[in-house]
Symmetry: C2
Subunit: 342 residues, 2 copies
């Protein structure tokens, strides 16, 4: 493709300056700490309140701690970061607003539901490509209890969850991006494919995987088209939180386009918990799910060159309790980030 | 300042490629249509439902219509636009998600409360500076009835409003940005100053002007510092929706820094209604307030060269009903956009 231009009918760009993930950090909740990646997270809470009085303050603390850790690992001062690109699942993104208020850095608030990790990395890459920053921070979070309250029922209500339901991950991932390749540089972002909203008309907020899978399929196909590539060019294609049901839908939709990604597809939501023993039903979800999986697991594989080229596709379901209660459908969106080992 | 770099301790950038506002459109509600700018809006609803069944659908329709109009005025097809940068005040930004879902354009969801118009123009300028798009769209909206439901009380409750309360503007503004200077080009964006979150600890959601004024003062001062300029270098300094109380606070805070902006300051919230007769109390507010004022009034003044250089500073109050009910403060944020006649 044309080196940098996202012209008409393209949804991708290649950054005109290199974009490295200089450092990253993950902070996780107790259930995530007992999961397969428990040993890989930088910090695990003793309980899910993280020393706070409310779930929302706890989630703000997750973001703050993750960013502090990432800046520290990068060997930078807070003042070295030019922009923060951040978001979460709560109404008016309060986990980011309150969690990042103490940093002396301009805040660009994002909302892309559970795809926000991809959105923040995309915009961070855009800022570096524009040559307007040396370092930017990309932060996202979710919290099981604040998300249940925001979208479904308060925990105290004790509602039953169908097997298609996801378990919102308690965690936050923070990433420092730079065009300067530092010693500890974890990976390079070599391409971005931004997603359109895709709405198949599904309305079940307890089956988010099916709502998001069409958006994942659309973005992955657009990525292949824009970069003139195919599944065989990647070591892994990793979606955010499609879960067991969404994965099946994605594979089927890709097969309809004569592409089989089943052998190289991973879904963060299915990897972050032991689905046999941890009662997470269809899998993990939330902005934090793919963010902490990227920081703790995916970037480790890329650093160790177990994987050299990965298409990372966080997926989001665009609903609020208001739109849901008014009978609206649940559109999906997915933002693709191409990651390569350095 | 250094031509493009937002290095450490700077919050501003000058786009490395020119950024023009190629076209724009405004869609407004009935009360706004009866206000001082009534004759300038592109479209005014017959009633505030805009043919829909819910306030949220009505707000989505505002965004859709505003963007369609702006694309039409620019003489473009939808496929010519590479990215949409959009947001609103509702939980999970549903007005944008649903309003813009039908466009075949990647959607970057933003949240900056009432500052989102500034945020969307800033990111649009960033994308053009990165050289990754020919055209981008920037869309924001608010709706009185959906905002009252989201943040305060449903309309049917009929609560009394103190004189410090704002009236959320029903309206949406859409802007097409490009590095290509078209014939109808309305203005050039010559600099961006992104805001930090500023929290003075205020907690009154019925006095948003006071909550946002410190952020406006901070961003305006940072802008002067980064560009080595002062009030005398601008024809107007225009804030988003500080209203009568916020304006006083802003002037006082600026005077503490030995800068008098009282002679060149305008506030969109105070201009959009006739405050003597329209019962809007402290003034208008909401993402739509400064967006439709920019499209209908400010850009007209710049086009006619009545004003040659304007610092446009949309202001936002970062709260949700959850954070408010949990006793949290209301932090502010303000994003500055420098506009010049072409």
């Amino acid at each position: 493709m044309d080196k940098t231009m996202n012209h008409a009918n393209k949804q991708s760009f290649i950054p005109s300056r290199p974009v490295y993930i200089t450092a990253s950090a993950s902070v996780a909740g107790t259930k995530e700490g007992r999961g397969p990646f428990g040993d890989l997270f930088d910090m695990i809470g003793k309980d899910d309140f993280f020393g706070c009085k409310t779930w929302e303050e706890a989630e703000s603390t997750l973001q703050k701690e993750a960013l502090l850790l990432a800046i520290g690992k990068a060997g930078l001062a807070q003042e070295d970061i030019s922009y923060l690109f951040a978001g979460d699942l709560l109404g008016q993104s309060i986990a980011s607003s309150f969690g990042l208020a103490s940093f002396p850095i301009p805040l660009i608030g994002l909302y892309g539901a559970c795809s926000t990790c991809g959105l923040s990395l995309s915009l961070g890459a855009m800022a570096l490509a524009a040559g307007i920053a040396d370092y930017v921070g990309c932060v996202t979070s979710s919290h099981f209890a604040s998300a249940e309250k925001e979208f479904r029922f308060p925990l105290a209500y004790g509602n039953q969850r169908p097997l298609s339901a996801h378990w919102t991950v308690t965690g936050s991932g923070a990433f420092i991006l730079s065009s300067i390749r530092g010693e500890k540089c974890r990976a390079e972002i070599t391409g971005i494919t931004s997603g359109k909203i895709i709405d198949y008309g599904l309305k079940d907020s307890l089956n988010m995987g099916a709502c998001m899978a069409p958006a994942a399929a659309d973005t992955i196909c657009r990525h292949f088209c824009d970069f003139d590539s195919g599944p065989e060019d990647y070591d892994k294609i990793i979606t955010g939180d499609l879960g067991t049901i969404g994965q099946k839908v994605l594979w089927d939709l890709m097969r309809e386009k004569r592409m089989d990604i089943s052998k190289l597809h991973l879904d963060c939501g299915m990897e972050i918990y032991d689905l046999q023993t941890q009662s997470a039903h269809a899998g993990g979800s939330g902005c934090g799910c793919c963010a902490i999986t990227l920081s703790a697991y995916i970037l480790k594989q890329i650093e160790e060159k177990a994987w050299r080229k990965v298409l990372f596709v966080p997926t989001g379901a665009l609903l609020s309790k208001t739109s849901f209660n008014e009978g609206q459908s649940i559109p999906g969106v997915a933002h693709g980030v191409m990651l390569e080992s350095v």
